[in-house]
Symmetry: C2
Subunit: 556 residues, 2 copies
């Protein structure tokens, strides 16, 4: 029988990837990464010298098309798959990664007149310059008793759509007026592919406070922020919003030429990268927390119940798998934190010893750190190098290390950072279980779990839970391809639901990571210390971290 394929296109922070998958088995046939030509724009605008502010992070929209143009033809070529056998395409992107468009759907940054205006560019998820707007918005929502607020842990993030839009209005009001639409990059790519404006329930729900029954926040609330925002939802955020797996449309002739795919190929509505990983990790039922681990970690969980608990960044009905409430929480620096450590604080001798041992520095640190017992270093860290997403939802917090002595060694610091990431995850798990939502098993996916066995063991030991690891090393792209197969539907050889697709296409590794009971006991103790310091420095016992950031901003 001739094979049938779907393609997932996964847009990360630094690069995009296309993955061609066998629809019947989930077998990953070919994959190709295209680094973004412009990377993350956080110093100066392309072609300009204007210095961006602290906390700014932008992208170039052409880079997304470049991934389609380069990677999709390449996976077809590598696999030898005929375009006729590719039934669907799914697209996932980091979120909220958003941009302003003109009435023709052209990003404003591509217009000569606007290219020197930072607000015309794509604002990446980790653009944190709208903190003031986020704080005021949360405060106003709280005062007004807005029903949507508890669904987002009582705080709207500076990373999200409404804060980013409001920042544009505040800092570039004429650009705000000129914008015909604000769109998630995920929806924009799908619009470019299909010629149709269809937003998705995942980004709308998790990143723009949209609700399946109530819609976006009310006109009254938006007016309370600023009268000019009153009609935002009906105008610049307009367009139908569809659940994941919905067919947005068929590939246009132009895009068919660019990608080598057949015109009319089913394209699923866009989705968030992390959320695509849930079914791709085989999770389509409650009680199984998926940890999408990369530069940051996103924690995703399905439940039949809707509860509001501290630290839950979002709960969206049908946000991931139809029929369930999808919960999201997260840690804002995980892989990034380890990478920072290796780049900025690993001494030369460690690199030399690693080279002698034939390992890279990460591997060498992992080996040495694996030889330490829990607690042996005397170190403890608060993993807030990029603020704290869950459970404190405070981007102004910063990282800390305690217990340093003249005897402290690099592998000890490295292990303390892995442990801090695991303690942060335990805080999130306890927020869910404290809210009455069971977390029975952990599923890990993304790049880190495959590369860092010690991190997985420490996560199991700290949380006292067994961890299953997704078999795919490109889980988001697989998830996107699965939704592409659902968008194509069973009549075309795909599936009619993501549950069916998951049954056939998703896999976890046989070997699981089980907690070591001795370590669990010691980590229970260390976690009490983590909690004490977490609460003192994160909940206002000492406001020093936040005041240091104020002094820092003033001194720059």
């Amino acid at each position: 029988m001739e094979r049938i394929y779907a393609i997932g296109v996964d847009y990360g922070t630094e690069s995009g990837r296309a993955l061609l998958v066998d629809v019947a088995t989930g077998e990953e046939i070919a994959t190709r990464v295209t680094p973004y030509p412009h990377g993350v724009i956080d110093e100066t605008l392309p072609g300009g010298s204007r210095k961006l502010g602290q906390d700014w992070a932008l992208q170039h929209p052409d880079d997304y098309l470049e991934v389609l143009k380069r990677s999709v033809p390449e996976v077809l070529r590598m696999s030898g798959a005929s375009p006729e056998r590719v039934i669907g395409v799914g697209v996932d992107v980091t979120a909220c990664t958003m941009m302003p468009l003109d009435a023709e759907g052209t990003p404003l940054c591509l217009k000569e007149r606007r290219r020197n205006d930072p607000h015309s560019w794509v604002k990446l998820w980790k653009h944190h310059a709208a903190q003031e707007e986020a704080d005021r918005m949360s405060e106003i929502a709280r005062q007004r008793g807005e029903a949507f607020l508890p669904r987002y842990g009582e705080k709207l993030s500076s990373e999200w759509m409404l804060a980013k839009v409001w920042q544009i209005l505040n800092e570039a009001p004429d650009l705000y007026e000129e914008a015909d639409l604000f769109m998630e990059a995920a929806d924009w790519v799908v619009m470019r592919m299909t010629g149709r404006l269809v937003r998705n329930s995942c980004t709308a729900g998790y990143k723009a406070a949209w609700h399946k029954r109530d819609g976006y926040p009310s006109k009254e609330f938006l007016r309370a922020l600023d009268p000019r925002l009153e009609h935002l939802a009906d105008t610049k955020l307009r367009g139908p919003i569809a659940a994941l797996g919905t067919r947005a449309g068929g590939l246009t002739e132009e895009m068919a030429r660019m990608t080598g795919l057949r015109a009319g190929t089913a394209v699923a509505v866009g989705m968030i990268d992390a959320h695509a990983m849930v079914p791709a990790s085989s999770v389509v039922t409650p009680g199984k927390m998926v940890m999408a681990m990369g530069t940051s970690t996103c924690h995703l969980l399905l439940s039949e119940k809707e509860v509001f608990a501290e630290g839950i960044c979002g709960v969206v009905e049908d946000g991931i798998v139809a029929g369930y409430y999808g919960y999201e929480a997260g840690q804002s620096a995980v892989g990034d934190l380890f990478a920072w450590y290796v780049e900025e604080a690993v001494p030369e001798y460690a690199r030399q010893q690693a080279a002698v041992a034939g390992a890279n520095v990460h591997e060498w640190l992992e080996r040495k750190a694996a030889g330490l017992r829990p607690g042996e270093s005397g170190l403890l860290a608060l993993d807030w190098w990029n603020g704290n997403r869950s459970v404190l939802m405070d981007a102004d917090l910063t990282g800390a290390i305690f217990g340093l002595t003249l005897q402290t060694k690099p592998e000890e610091i490295y292990r303390a950072l892995l442990e801090a990431a695991a303690f942060g995850t335990r805080k999130i798990i306890e927020a869910f279980t404290g809210g009455g939502i069971a977390v029975d098993e952990l599923y890990a996916c993304g790049g880190l779990p495959q590369r860092n066995r010690l991190l997985m063991q420490i996560c199991a030991d700290v949380t006292g839970r067994e961890i299953r690891i997704a078999d795919s090393i490109q889980t988001a792209a697989l998830g996107a391809a699965m939704f592409g197969a659902v968008a194509a539907g069973s009549a075309a050889g795909g599936y009619d639901s993501i549950v069916e697709a998951a049954r056939r296409m998703a896999r976890v590794r046989k070997e699981t990571v089980r907690p070591n009971p001795e370590h669990v006991l010691i980590y229970d103790e260390l976690y009490r210390e983590y909690t004490e310091l977490h609460d003192i420095l994160g909940r206002g016992g000492s406001g020093a971290l936040k005041r240091l950031k104020v002094i820092r901003a003033r001194s720059r």
Copy 2:
């Protein structure tokens, strides 16, 4: 006129140095360092495989003689000075650095029978394994209302003589019985040089709770610790105690042969290295705080008044300069902390850039850090990598860094460590001024002030005080030589008091370091944050640091 000389022999942690000085002018004619062949013994005993406990730090007594044997003849040779023109020798040693001796004055560790017993060796000042004894001793003294306790900031240190002796009694009672004497290394070296047992008021006062009028702690107190300790002061700590500058005796024939000096040359009683630096920095009057800065920093101050204030490690009448109360406080990791950072946490690229710039890593970091404004990094550190001596007197505290982000750079961390050292010094200054003792000027001496101009500027900015820097780069050895000249006396061409010797032999650099008023204001703010975190983590608001250390000890 033919020159007259004195020699100072300065015993540090890793090496010893002889310095030959012109008595009339203080000119430093020749110097020679001899590294200790056995270094710091903190892993296994010489010739043995027995692993030492955490916090242990020992030395080999033969290493002290090795310094006399190698360095003294060498400075004579280098200078061409005739032994007849060398009128006196002074000896300073780290303290409390102590050892048990048999009735012949032989260190017990040199006896075959005892060489595998760690307690028979010289316990270095930074041997911290007697913390339990120190804690119990302080507690018992407090309960009994012992008059000596307030002179030591209400706490006796684990580094000091009584805690170290008590540890020996507890862990090796037969060795305690066998010991005929416990001696400071400074006194032992002087005894070896002169054949006479004369202790000095400086180590006895600062390190053994001895008092000019009251003597050692009472029999009743010692008995309350352990009945076997009752007669300690009269037996194993026996011997006359003389003020600094006193002639202990003349050089023996044997030692004259070993050193190339004349038999009968005046030898001053021993002294503590840091305390020798006070007159060598030209300070012989109140109001001038001397910071003896090296691996750790010792803060020394003269006053006409005796007051008791938190954080003062010791106040000893005639402890430094006769006629004044000598105050001591300290920070237990300063140069050591910066060295730890450079060794264990400076990334390879910094070394490469330093090499390209033709600088060593310390210099490169200093240059880059000097380009930062106060507060710009957002970082703050607690400088407790080796515990906190003043003002908290708690060896179980550990270091911490706050404010880390994914953008944090090595020079920012480095600067935060320099600032932490300066904040620690400001805490000490405020303890003195709060206790009614003026601190008008700062005098810096030791290796660091000459090498690290940025550290001096930050100290001036953080404390808001002008700093003078000792002209000598071997201030302790110069001070020892000055006391050697006093031991010889004016009749032999020396001096009759250290005040006279300081007038002729000590110098500070012309250029002083003045506070930058803008920086003073920002540092006032940062110091408030330092104080908040210092008090939370150091005074029991959170006991996390100490509990981490308990867990660590158990996990090893």
